[in-house]
Amino acid sequence: MPDRAAPAPESLAAVTGLALGFGDRRIVEGLEFEVARGEIFAIMGASGVGKSTLLRTLIGLAPPATGAVALFGQDPYALPAAALYALRRRIGVAFQGGALLNALTVLENVELPLKLNTRLDRATIRIMAHLKLELLNLREIDHLYPSQLSGGMAKRVSLARAVVMDPELVFFDEPAGGLDARNAAELDELILKLRAAMNCSFVVVTHALDSAFTIADRVLVLAEGRALALGTPQEVRALGDERMAALFGQTGAGQRAPRAAYLDRLTAGL
């Protein structure tokens, strides 16, 4: 009997020899990684290391300085406009500030991709949008406009809009950005719930260490203009490198995460 090796996980997004920058200035270089089907892949790092620029590069919005990007095996920067839009219909993107269309209600925002990208009738579109809103606990606010939403709600609506077309891969820029600990934890739970319910993959860009270590299957840590670490949360935590310790605020094995430590300090006098 010949040995049967387990099939390699299918790669949804991949970068090789990637460098990002503006003009001659390089923000980060030498990036090599793949995002496998079904995984939650977190891109971590401090502010300004190029996390969001990397996300924009992955989704075809910011060409890399050097190197190659592949989304479902295709280079988004080599495709004509129509093919690029078709490729993007296979992904969902939730932006940091929500990026909801101000003139539309929550429900209309979520319906929009279905209205313009499918030939479904109005009633079916409404049902599908309501399903996603229900999944993200947003059914009660579907009549509100973006200006009436809190930051956390806007992020959740943005996530609902990102998944309404049942994408294979969802990009989420800073889910915890600007949120309190409780709202950030709720969003983490929703990401895990969506992955389980829809069997989609996530690329999450975050600076929140405990959030990334809670939800991610693999973590890419960006610092000092390069990939400082790439692996499972356990592997990254165990690296023990001094720079990792500095980056994480000494969040090695057995140490308290920065947010927990902060809360400890905050409640110490109570």
């Binding site: 219909r89 992904i91 993107v93 500030g97 909801l100 269309l101 313009l116 990208n117 943005s158």
Partner: protein, 254 residues
């Protein structure tokens, strides 16, 4: 030397970018996203919300023209031509150009600020990531609304102007309204109306193209200062383009 070259080359590069922008807009104009049903609400927003301003301004301009022309025509012994002079000035020249400048200040700057704000808050990126062409969904209906609104508003501006001229003629100079109207009707022909129509269509197009293009192509919009700069630049450039086109059309058309 480099600074001088940049000063010369930048406007050429910007003109080229605006030309490409227009070609892309025309290419996506027949697509589904461009027909997504926002035109009616945009016509209401751009057209009807400028209505009061246009009617009031038209009335004042017509009244002012009556005062000016009455003195001049009396000097040359033709005060009965008051209606024709007011109508001709409004229909061929002042109606289209003033209405375009009013709409530019009222709606053009708002459109530029809206699109630039959408760029700054990643709404345009979000549309692209949904597989929706932002040019088709955002720009095409707004450009169409500008082109369609201006001739209609210009016609109303002309009517308000004639009313203002007629009232001033009747109240201040004792010219019966019917005579002023009769003179107006005999003073303009189909060519004059066509000239006004062509001008307002061209001005509406220039207004939309420049305001939307400048905002859409704005490189980085990070705050209110950038928004003010983008919409201010768009209004200034569109004003000059409208006045330049006015001269060219007046010189070229019969």
């Amino acid at each position: 030397m480099i600074r001088a070259a940049t000063t010369v080359l930048r406007p050429i590069a910007e003109l080229g970018a605006m030309g490409l922008f227009l070609l892309q807009v025309l290419r996506v104009a027949p697509t589904r996203a461009a027909r997504a049903g926002t035109l009616a609400s945009l016509l209401v927003r751009i057209g009807t919300r400028s209505l009061t301003l246009v009617l009031a301004a038209g009335f004042c301009v017509g009244a002012m023209l009556a005062v000016q022309f009455h003195d001049t025509l009396t000097r040359f012994g033709s005060p009965s031509m008051l209606g024709a002079a007011v109508a001709l000035s409004l229909v061929r020249e002042l109606g289209p150009v003033l209405c375009a400048l009013l709409l530019l200040g009222r709606a053009g700057s708002a459109l530029a600020a809206e699109i630039a704000s959408m760029r700054g808050t990643q709404q345009i990126d979000a549309l692209a990531c949904m597989g929706i062409d932002p040019l088709a969904y955002l720009v095409v209906p707004r450009l169409l609304a500008c082109v369609l609104s201006l001739p209609l508003l210009t016609a109303l501006f002309d009517v308000a102007g004639l009313t203002g001229g007629m009232l001033v003629g009747a109240i201040s100079f004792g010219s019966p309204g019917a005579i002023v109207l009769d003179s107006a009707a005999s003073g303009i022909d189909a060519d004059d109306v066509m000239m006004g129509l062509i001008k307002s269509l061209v001005f509406g197009f220039l207004l939309g193209w420049i305001c939307l293009g400048r905002a859409f192509l704005a490189p980085a919009v990070r705050g209110t200062e950038d928004l003010a700069r983008v919409s201010g630049d768009a209004v200034v450039i569109a004003s000059l383009a409208i006045l330049g086109a006015d001269y060219l059309l007046s010189a070229l058309l019969p």
